[in-house]
């Protein structure tokens, strides 16, 4: 007999609950999830939405003032004293209604410049120093980077507000102070000092040309020297700040005057512990200032309820200034405080909180058991945390913050993964983190789900439901691939399977080395994960593969600027193999010179600008007495080589192979002419759209390139499960990943590959002429490293995922695949299950990362036309979620053009 519906549904694990013959709803029901945060959170979010990014000079003023007093002290103490003074003088600002407080600067959405890293870029453009920076090449990326014009960005000056670095507003009356501070650091900043010495690297001229022509996007040493790492909250949670000072004092006694067998830096331990004490004391005063402000507000407050909240806030702050937290909310305030303190110590983007659901679980568990808190209150705090984290801005140059990061700060929270013993680490609090992420959809904290086959099914399905809100998170990362990478790469530093399990995402999707520490609370022991490695995504930052191909094809000459970047190879490039070999030669030359010069930048940073607070948090600095600069961290092999435009290169090579070498449809000279002539099209800048589909023909252009352009577009493309193109990717990965080991970081460790584009595919595309895959001049590259070029994946998501999984992702720190899905394709509970099936299949096939943009392209187009109606529209860019109105046009265009998968 034919199967019954009941049997069919039972097979599928669905209970039979359709009321046959009963009442049908009168309307079609929209099942999709639309949630609201708690009223308190809504209020603060409303303030956030109306707030502009603001910069202040308070912190740099106090830092500089103190620093200039101590030119006779050892560098680590000079720095620690400056930090202490700056922290102690930071004005506290508490917003009524908030429960978790403390902020970077005295503004709701504030931050400040750090001229000791780099002072050039916010000087007046006519300033001689700025002009000099322009020559150096570091400023040219700014010219190709545009911020989104809306949201909290201040791209233009208005009234008495001056726009700085393309994003921040500063009060006009503070500008003279800023310029004075900047001039004080002229010649002393990491940027300037590093430049003085990097010039001594043979071949430095090539590096300048590489930067000026945007073959590489930026130097990390003086822009964002830290970040793309996982913070560690363990020591303040376990010992409290008084406890840390006590440890430092005891250790000082043990090490004073002793080298203990280390004649190089053994003696430095004394100064380091002394520095720890200074910085922690500064942070304690800073917390006390917030407590005083809470007391002051309490005394002024008429509303009894708010008065109590101020009082309790003051009590919490007074307690955690000295002691380990006792409750969930105290622990939460502690990690927020520590987080902001680390971010204020250095210019940082991507200081990720990591697995906070597991870090805070002990407090959650004991509070719930004792009835001190309800789940609803916990969700409210988690929602507040999203306002808190989204309000954090990062101050750096336009090129870095706009062109690379799209203004994002990557306070990524990881959920899932395995515990120390290899069991699923998911706990109840992580379900609530997902709930809060759905209730209060804001870009921070972006959620990363560390996928493992052992994770509970309902947790994964809840994650899918959150994706359906359109928030863009969580992204899925493969736990097994990451562990394999960590064991491979950090094996020589002692990485074992246990520590590998502690990993989390630092930054947008940088696999970061972590470890376990035993937290004690009321006599119970919990092993909590936390960061134990140096910053990743430092070193060779974003090398543009399509640009290197341009230089290969044109004998080392940049076709936009006419400058000879690499020494001419003078080869005829008669075979595909010769072309690929020459490409690799230029690639290696670029990576080598960038590695050497960046090593010097970072070395200057570590000598004068080393992290003290971030260092003391991470194992095993406090035990060893060495900070980051003296290899105090457990894992130091963190410097990497970042590629950008992978798929654009693969498609370009496939087209060259097919049309020029295999089928000889066109000779190389003709192809090069076509590229130079942009296939008869206008440039992307001329028409102000960076998406291939919008490009226009020149009026005067004849049709001579039409045929060739069409052939290039029809040539095999990555993402279609076509071995012709996919094998080129495989060849590239098999060269690139092992090749990174040939470069050594300043800490004496081999490098490794990192394959994310963040937002560089916009700015780099803007600086690159047409490519042989048919991409036109100035248009954006394919995003990420595994996404297909928009519109070229014509065989659906299965073919795309199959292409992506062709190589071993565990050879690399990451890979990145973004997919845009139409809301109808994942409707209902079944839609969520099907999306999970797809995700799981990719993970099983060895994919490392996948993330979804659930949005209708029509909505994005409308949002581009009417940004005023879309202040809160969020989209997934490349490893992070951001407000639509705050991202630059080139990336907006690329997002619209991404192939959209609809349910069939």
């Amino acid at each position: 007999m034919a199967k019954t519906l009941k049997a069919v549904l039972a097979d599928a694990g669905i209970p039979m609950n359709f009321q046959a013959g009963g009442q049908a709803p009168d309307q079609l029901i929209d099942r999709e999830i639309q949630r609201e945060p708690h009223p308190r959170v809504q209020k603060l979010k409303h303030i956030f939405m109306g707030t502009l990014s603001s910069a202040s000079n308070e912190f740099p003023y106090w830092y500089t003032r103190e620093y200039m007093l101590h030119d006779n002290d050892v560098p680590v103490l000079r720095r620690a004293k400056s930090l202490k003074t700056a922290f102690a003088h930071s004005t506290p600002v508490i917003i009524p209604g908030e429960l978790l407080t403390m902020r970077k600067a005295p503004y709701f959405r504030g931050s400040f410049p750090m001229p000791w890293l780099s002072e050039g870029f916010y000087m007046a453009k006519e300033d001689e120093f700025y002009q000099e920076a322009l020559k150096r090449g570091s400023a040219s990326v700014d010219e190709h980077s545009k911020f989104g014009q809306g949201g909290g960005n201040v791209p233009n000056s208005f009234g008495k507000v001056v726009s700085i670095a393309g994003k921040f507003g500063m009060r006009q009356e503070e500008i003279p102070a800023l310029l004075k501070l900047a001039r004080l650091w002229y010649g002393k900043s990491v940027d300037d000092l590093g430049n003085r010495y990097e010039k001594m690297v043979p071949g430095y001229g090539t590096k300048e040309k590489i930067m000026r022509n945007i073959v590489c996007m930026f130097d990390s040493g003086f822009t964002l020297p830290q970040g793309r790492e996982v913070i560690n909250y363990y020591y303040p949670l376990e010992y409290g700040f008084d406890g840390i000072i006590k440890i430092a004092r005891e250790m000082k006694d043990k090490v004073a005057g002793r080298a203990d067998g280390d004649g190089m830096v053994g003696m430095n331990r004394l100064y380091n512990y002394e520095a720890v004490i200074y910085v922690v004391e500064g942070i304690q005063s800073w917390i006390h200032n917030y407590a005083k402000e809470a007391r002051r507000l309490e005394s002024l407050e008429a509303d009894a309820h708010q008065k109590t909240e101020f009082k309790e806030m003051a009590e919490r702050l007074e307690w955690i200034a000295h002691n380990p937290p006792r409750t969930f909310i105290e622990a939460f305030q502690m990690i927020e405080t520590v987080h902001i303190a680390v971010l204020n110590e250095d210019a940082i983007s991507g200081m990720s909180p990591g697995r906070i659901g597991q870090v805070l679980y002990p407090y959650f568990e004991q509070d719930m058991e004792a009835g001190r808190i309800t789940e609803d209150e916990v969700i409210e705090l988690l929602e507040l945390d999203r306002v808190f984290k989204t309000s954090i801005d990062c101050f750096a140059s336009v090129g870095v913050v706009g062109g690379v990061l799209s203004g994002n700060t990557f306070n990524t929270v990881s959920i899932g993964g395995l515990d120390k013993e290899g069991k699923s680490a998911v706990n109840r609090l992580e379900y609530l983190i997902l709930e809060a992420g759905a209730n209060n959809a804001m870009p921070q904290s972006t959620l990363s789900l560390l996928y493992d086959e052992k994770l509970p099914e309902d947790f994964l399905l809840l994650a899918m439901e959150v994706i359906k809100t359109g928030a863009g998170y969580p992204a899925f990362m493969s736990n097994q691939i990451a562990q394999e990478f960590l064991k491979n790469h950090y094996g020589h530093e002692g990485m074992n399977v246990e520590d590998a399990r502690a990993w989390a995402i630092g930054g947008c999707l940088e696999t970061s080395a972590c470890t376990w520490k035993p937290l004690h609370l009321n006599g119970k022991e919990y092993w909590i994960p936390g960061g134990a490695g140096q910053p990743t995504s430092v070193g060779v930052h974003f090398v543009s593969m399509p640009k290197i191909l341009e230089l290969t094809l044109f004998n080392g000459i940049d076709q936009k600027t006419g400058e000879t970047v690499f020494a001419p190879h003078d080869k005829s490039l008669d075979t595909y193999e010769e072309l690929f070999e020459q490409f690799k030669t230029y690639w290696k030359e670029a990576v080598d010179i960038l590695a050497l010069t960046n090593n010097i930048q970072h070395d200057i940073w570590r000598k004068n600008n080393m992290a003290v607070f971030n260092s003391l948090l991470k194992p095993d600095c406090l035990d060893k007495g060495h900070l980051i600069n003296e290899l105090g961290y457990r894992y130091n092999a963190t410097f990497n080589v970042e590629s950008a435009g992978t798929i654009t290169l693969v498609n370009a090579m496939a087209a060259l192979k097919k049309l020029v070498y295999d089928e000889k449809e066109v000779n190389l000279k003709e192809m090069k002419n076509a590229l130079k002539d942009n296939f008869g099209f206008k440039t992307a800048q001329e028409i102000n759209s960076f998406s291939l589909a919008d490009q226009e023909k020149r009026e005067d252009g004849d049709k001579k390139w039409d045929k060739l352009h069409f052939k290039t577009l029809q040539a095999p493309k990555y993402g279609n499960d076509d071995p012709y193109a996919d094998n080129i990717l495989l060849d590239w990965e098999n060269f690139f990943c092992p090749d990174c080991k040939n470069y050594e970081s300043l800490y004496g460790h081999p490098m490794y590959p990192c394959q994310i584009s963040v937002s560089t595919h916009g700015a780099m595309g803007s600086a690159t002429i047409a490519s042989p895959d048919g991409r036109l001049a100035g248009t954006t590259f394919a995003d990420a490293s595994m996404s297909a070029y928009p519109g070229t994946d014509k065989n659906g998501p299965f073919a795309l995922l199959n292409s992506a999984a062709i190589w071993d992702h565990a050879m690399s720190q990451n890979s990145q695949l973004n997919i845009k899905i139409h809301p109808t394709a994942i409707k209902g509970v079944e839609g969520a299950k099907k999306l999970l099936d797809l995700t799981r299949a990719y993970m099983r096939k060895g994919g490392f990362h996948i993330q979804y943009n659930v949005v209708d392209s029509k909505v994005l187009k409308d949002a581009q036309k009417h940004p005023e109606n879309y202040r809160d529209l969020m989209v997934r860019v490349a490893g992070f979620t951001q407000y639509w109105v705050e991202i630059g046009k080139s990336v907006q265009d690329e997002l619209i053009a991404r192939t959209e998968y609809e349910g069939v």
Partner: protein, 338 residues
């Protein structure tokens, strides 16, 4: 000697001769299926995530058909006006003078000539992606290879759905495919008109797990007017299958709800009556949509429903209530629990 000759002829099939097999026809050429689309990540055509194979050929000719390209039995040129720049290259290249330019400056394809062309010279001269050759031949091996790849992405519940056109039209190919799928433990599903010879229909269904079958109209005359064929064979096939003792598949009758043509209470009740009478429990009602419109234009055909609005949500709910009055379960559109 003889053997090598045979293998020579089979490895080199006549390129320019296209054959679509009709039921019962036995051809000696290498077995190939003619397919106009394959869509992975198909989430509305059966349980789980699926790959849907759209096969050419159909015994009906429904006036609202949303896949007009599926009616062809050979590859056909589609003209995408949105991409065409009217460069005229195709006019020059066509040896049959089938393409011309109208007074308004649009391209005109003489479909009488164009649709029977087998050489398609125009394709190579179009540099703007304005022309596309729709339809492709697959051997069972080639199609199985695709399905075996895709199955890794389906999840536990997914499978393959054969749709069309009428997927059972190409009898030899589909039987071979269904058998191979069963052997490979693939879940199979067909979206069928059920308008096929009963013996053959029952034979094919042995290898099918799920059947979506249309009930376009219960009145024989109306059915004929709307689809070009009566409904008696269809009803007989569905009933026979539903009552077949040794078949343990699942049948979902579907009503494509076309405003003013088959959405009367009378027709809905008659359909529900029939479904109830043969012992089935569920009806899936699909609101009319206009998604096929652009394909009509690309094929140079007139679409009679260009102005027709989809049925209202209220109307769909009304139909759902009527059906539920018979003690049947009714799903609207893709709001299904599978």
């Amino acid at each position: 000697m003889h053997k090598s000759q045979t293998s020579k002829t089979t490895t080199k099939p006549p390129v320019k001769e296209f054959i679509v097999e009709t039921p019962g026809a036995m051809k000696q050429e290498a077995l190939r299926g003619f397919i106009f689309d394959i869509q992975g990540h198909s989430v509305h055509d059966g349980p789980g995530t699926r790959t849907t194979v759209f096969m050419n050929g159909c015994p009906l000719n429904c006036i609202w058909c949303c896949n007009p390209e599926g009616l062809f039995r050979h590859p056909v040129i589609m003209h995408k006006k949105s991409k065409c720049v009217c460069c005229g290259n195709c006019i020059e290249s066509c040896p049959y003078d089938a393409v011309s330019i109208t007074k308004e400056g649009n391209l005109y394809f003489n479909r009488g000539l164009c649709d029977v062309c087998k050489t398609h010279e125009c394709l190579d001269t179009c540099y703007h992606d304005g022309l596309e050759l729709n339809g492709k031949f697959y051997t069972p091996d080639e199609l199985m290879q695709k399905l075996q790849r895709d199955r890794q992405f389906w999840g536990a519940k997914g499978g393959v759905t054969f749709s069309g056109g009428e997927p059972l039209m190409q009898s030899r190919f589909i039987l071979e495919m269904l058998k191979r799928c069963k052997k490979a433990y693939l879940h199979t599903c067909v979206e069928t008109t059920s308008c096929l010879p009963t013996d053959y229909y029952m034979d094919a269904m042995q290898y099918v797990d799920w059947v979506f079958t249309d009930l376009k109209h219960m009145n024989n005359g109306e059915h004929k007017a709307l689809t070009g064929a009566g409904n008696s064979l269809i009803l007989k096939n569905i009933e026979t299958l539903a009552k077949k003792p040794d078949w343990d598949g699942f049948i979902v009758p579907r009503i494509p709800v076309i405003p003013n043509l088959n959405d009367s209470d009378e027709n809905i009740c008659a359909t529900a009556d029939f479904v109830k009478a043969i012992g089935l429990e569920v009806i899936n009602i699909l609101p009319f949509h206009r998604l096929g419109e652009s394909k009509y234009r690309q094929l140079g055909k007139v679409y009679r429903f260009a102005e027709q609005k989809p049925p209202s949500a209220e109307k769909m709910c009304h139909i759902k209530k009527l059906i539920e009055g018979y003690g049947l379960v009714c799903f609207i559109g893709y709001e299904t629990p599978f």
